[in-house]
Symmetry: C2
Subunit: 339 residues, 2 copies
DNA sequence: TTGTACGCGTTATCAG
DNA sequence: CTGATAACGCGTACAA
């Protein structure tokens, strides 16, 4: 069956295409009776305006894009949840693209989306994106962009982040207060803004506690999962003096658990562990994981709301629109120090 | 800055619009030199064809839709991962919509997408969708559809599912072999195909073990999370004879853990627990959770591949294209019965 | 209050 | 080999 077009409705109603168009768009220069007739038939035939014809005319795609490194990660799925809610409230669709942490993918995706396919973009950078040349096209084409979590500092647009520096500081301090003296720091990609902030918080907390910063305890793991566990195990095996681990991303906390299990190290007795994480199973782990939890859903919502300010109200987004939300420290068994 | 159009390129190159179009599309009736000139300028100006104009012409959106109940769920995020991979390989975009398990949402989303916005649809039904009237429009408009996991039996199209009946049977048998005699079955929405199949497997396993089916042990929890834990706790408190729990969806296993904790019931000594789950933290839980794990990533991939068979090769999808993949039983501590 | 005419950017067809 | 023209479906001046 052919798609229902305005032309078809018009013929059926003995009206012109433009009259039907205006009737369905509830314009005030159309008789009420005509509107009713048109609407009734449209509903009956399940007419949906061809979105591409509308877009072509209006230069609006009614679609926003989300570009993220991965989706198999609670932080991002929660954020998407928030974004999708706001998008739907604004009558918008959501296009999702995954970069799999690869610069090249990110580049080609953005080039593609910048061609007018989306009215705005929510972006969280890949860990391997060292520069921002590939984002220039977004500025040129004036595509509104909001970064969330993994921001790009080169682009002067709105960002929604969390208090990464403070969280890193707090996490480290918590380990120190639990008695740790040799704290390992695990991160992905030193280039990422969040990584640098969290690491800086870690370093400063050590300094304020008069503990030497030991480069050998700072691991950057940008390789795949299997290797991550291995390298953590290796570190823990070589440096038996490590008594605390600060995992700056969710997956690394889990790899630490796995590595400890392999080495038969007990958490929290032998090693205490804290991790950035949105896992809802954190309290049910063995032992329950102490976490820094980001308000992922809120991040998504707020980022989307900013984006729609740009899209609907034509506001030019600047760094002044940026928001910093607070993460929460949830203290659990994995950092317990006895009474 | 204005978007770059063919018209613009044509003017710059002193060629006609249609020549440039064909040059960029590498048609064989265009001189090599012309092609080179056109391509060079296009690259220089970062020309991207307007996707909506192309779609309008070709009736192809280069976009597929995913409609799922929720995204904050490992099964679905893994499936999306698989889908996205295939979509990208086919040069397609992915539109995501969440129904939040609500029939009305599902209905309006599908009505919207059926209007030509997508070339095909991957669908996993909401738990509250009792009928399939809202899917009729997809058949009328001839939008290719592949169901995955939560299928709709009324629509004669391809489905990618897992061996739900066998898995339900196997999970229950596993509990029986571990010594359980009073096994609770937790599910969402009795209407869902997967729920019915898993429950049937449970019932048949009991029958084959000559154990009476007790309606009071079968809980259907379609309300929100907070209430789910409460109701499970209530059941476990009232029926202290329950010695096994079979959670037919991931979240319910976690609620069972929470309920047991509140009642100070020990797993697996007091109650053994098995659950359908794609949680990668299952082995790290306290105790490690025995799971039936669905090949979510593969489900997504295969479903998408079927869809592209319809889209690219113009194959009419029928139930004969359906696939049933196998889930895996991972035995862990939560069903341990001593040596 | 309704109809006519045009253009959005692209591509297929046909003419040259 | 290249150019002109028409058409996809919709929305909007402008005319009636």
């Amino acid at each position: 069956m052919k798609p229902i077009s305005l032309k078809l409705l018009a013929r059926e109603l003995n009206l012109s295409v433009s009259t039907v168009s205006r009737a369905l768009n509830d314009r005030d220069d159309i008789a009420q009776e005509t509107k009713d007739r048109a609407r009734k038939l449209a509903t009956k035939l399940k007419y949906e305006p061809n979105p591409y014809a509308s877009s072509l005319r209006s230069n609006k795609s009614k679609t926003i894009g989300i570009v993220i490194p991965e989706i198999d990660n609670h932080f991002f799925s929660l954020a998407i949840n928030g974004i999708e809610e706001i998008a739907r409230a604004n009558d918008y669709h959501v296009l999702i693209s995954l970069t799999h942490e690869e610069y090249q993918q990110e580049k080609s995706i953005i080039q593609l989306l910048a061609g007018g396919r989306v009215d705005g973009l929510l972006l969280s950078m890949a860990s391997t994106s060292q520069n921002s040349d590939h984002l220039a096209v977004l500025e040129e084409r004036k595509v509104p962009v909001v970064f969330f979590d993994r921001v790009c500092e080169d682009l002067a647009t709105a960002r929604v982040t969390t208090d990464d520096y403070e969280s890193g500081y707090r996490a480290t301090t918590h380990l120190l207060e639990a008695g740790c003296r040799k704290i390992a720091h695990l991160a992905i990609s030193g280039a990422l803004s969040i990584s640098r902030r969290r690491l800086q918080g870690y370093a400063d907390a050590l300094r304020d506690a008069a503990i030497a910063y030991d480069q050998a305890l700072v691991l950057t793991l940008d390789q795949d999962d299997a290797q991550a566990t291995d390298r953590i195990r290796q570190l823990l095996a070589e440096r038996r003096d490590i008594d605390g681990v600060f995992a700056a991303v969710e997956a690394l906390a889990m790899h630490t658990y796995a590595a400890c299990r392999q080495l038969e190290l007990t958490i929290p007795e032998d090693v205490k562990v804290i991790g950035f994480s949105n896992l809802e199973t954190a309290p049910l782990l063995k032992p329950a994981l102490t976490t820094i939890t980001q308000p992922a859903y809120q991040i998504g919502k707020q980022a989307a709301q900013l984006l729609f300010k740009a899209i609907n109200d034509n506001v030019l987004l600047t760094m002044n629109h940026s928001l910093e939300l607070k993460s929460e420290l949830h203290i659990r068994m994995s950092t317990y120090s006895g009474e």
